[in-house]
């Protein structure tokens, strides 16, 4: 068991988000400034109050559209003087910035940490259609530790790996395409209620089934939608958070895991590391899955969301298909509204931090036409394959 559940001493006190565009006319740094300044103001703080900066993955290969803005560049551009900053790709996935920022506060390195995620894959793909391809991550021969085992076999997108997870889930548990479609359909329904979502046209089961197959059994609308956007939150030490304008959203518990071995084909295809993440998170809190008012779960590809639903204990392993069948349970008004912004599938691939932003939007009652009644507890989780992380949020 864990001796120091440090995260309970950290709260989210403000959020911000740039436009979500496809593409944006703004630069990556302008988008990031929009999100960060909005978050700082929302928290009732000034730039001079920010003494830490965190993000995942940070400066990624000098302007790569997957993550064009690092902490050092942002700190400089916003004129921040911080005690601690950190980014980097290695960690438990897209929520790693939140977890690292909370650790910095708990360790006494900072009081108010700005956490952000910027992505410009829409404009990146306009410049170069192969910008996001796995085969484009290295020039010449592939020397990467993981991808070099897959790219020689024409795995050019993560979908080729993740599609095999879906195929295996269908095989082991009898999950049907019609059940599975409810992830994409639910996200689209929620997107119709979110003015910032990119895809807001209502989608029927027929529309979903008629869309072209990308990599069996995953169809076009099982894939998230590239965008240009930046999302930011402010983490504050609990005693400081209590004096700020927004009701503190406590980091109630975190979970994180990396499969042994680091591998996309030897990890459990139908569970990934969601069980390890889940065990860690629920062992750090008295809350239970039944206490959760909304789940904001990674939907880079829709099968990942289904696996997270099972892994976090909202239903038994293998029963995800039945759990989401018909969609009522995971829609607004159901027992576990899922990805209420429209998720990455329909609102845009803000990549991880978008889930935290939407959770806070719901917890603070700001979600207007898609608001969940009396929303107090939200779970966010992100990652796929051998890595994953989760954050349980509770409004005080």
């Amino acid at each position: 068991m864990f001796e120091n559940v440090f995260e309970k001493n950290v709260a989210i006190t403000g959020i911000g988000q740039s436009e979500i565009a496809r593409p944006s006319q703004k630069t990556a740094m302008q988008l990031t400034a929009d999100a960060c300044l909005q978050a700082i103001a929302d928290a009732g703080l000034k730039r001079s109050d920010i003494d830490g900066v965190a993000c995942w993955p940070g400066d990624n290969n000098h302007g790569d559209p997957f993550s064009p803005i690092g902490t050092t560049a942002l700190k400089s551009a916003l004129g921040l003087n911080v005690n601690w900053h950190g980014g980097g790709y290695e960690g438990p996935g897209p929520l790693a910035g939140v977890i690292n920022g909370a650790m910095a506060i708990a360790a006494g390195l900072a009081k108010n940490v700005l956490v952000y995620r910027t992505i410009t894959e829409a404009s990146g793909r306009l410049r170069n259609r192969d910008a996001t391809a796995l085969t484009n991550k290295t020039t010449g021969r592939d020397s990467s530790y993981a991808w070099s085992w897959y790219t020689p076999f024409n795995v050019m997108s993560a979908i080729n790996l993740i599609a095999m997870y879906a195929q295996r889930h269908f095989h082991e548990y009898g999950t049907t395409p019609e059940q599975f479609a409810q992830i994409a359909l639910t996200c689209r329904h929620h997107a119709t209620l979110n003015p910032k979502a990119l895809f807001r046209t209502p989608m029927s089961m027929d529309d979903y089934m008629a869309a072209r197959m990308i990599s069996t059994p995953l169809r076009l609308f099982d894939c998230d939608v590239h965008c240009d956007a930046s999302t930011a939150i402010i983490l504050s030490r609990a005693d400081i958070a209590r004096d700020l304008p927004n009701p503190p959203i406590r980091i109630e518990a975190i979970g994180a895991a990396l499969n042994q071995p680091w591998s996309w084909d030897q990890v459990s295809l139908t569970e990934m590391v969601t069980r390890e993440v889940s065990d860690m998170m629920w062992n750090r809190t008295d809350f239970k899955p039944s206490d959760v008012d909304t789940a904001q779960l990674y939907d880079g590809f829709s099968i990942l969301t289904l696996i997270w639903l099972e892994g976090l204990g909202f239903c038994k392993r293998g029963e995800g298909g039945a759990f989401i069948e018909g969609g009522a349970r995971i829609r607004l008004g159901g027992e576990l509204p899922l990805n209420t912004s429209g998720g990455q599938l329909s609102a845009g691939r803000t990549h991880g931090m978008g889930y935290v932003h939407e959770a806070c939007t719901q917890l603070w009652g700001r979600a207007a036409g898609r608001q969940i009644d009396d929303c107090k507890v939200a779970v966010t989780a992100a990652g796929g394959g051998p890595l994953g992380g989760s954050v349980l949020l509770v409004r005080e």
Binding site: S143, P152, R168
Partner: protein, 132 residues
Amino acid sequence: MARKLPQLTPENSAFWQGGAKGELLIERCDDCQRWQHPPGPICRACGSRSVQSRPVSGRGRVYSFTINHQPWTPALAVPNAIAIVELEEQPGLRFVSNVVDCPVESIAIGMAVRVQFLQQDDVWLPLFVPAQ
């Protein structure tokens, strides 16, 4: 089409070049007898440094697969089949490859396959074909 090829290293070249002699070479621990892939400097299970690449049967089963329909690059011929093949030597000993020389509609989980190498430059890619 020309495939993206791996950078060869002392650790991975047995896997990528064993096909020159018609052998699929996988690393095995001399002490605990476990096979492991990808290869590394020690046995990940028991910690032994006595690990060596050794030939396997080349027989296995399709653990999962996908038929890719998206032409990610203009040169990629679609549909193409990508599979995770589990080798018969050990449960969980599996890696990504391609199933070739059969209609993509005939590929199924559990299908018996055997290795067949495709040479490109100095790399012998271990692909798989139906075993019968």
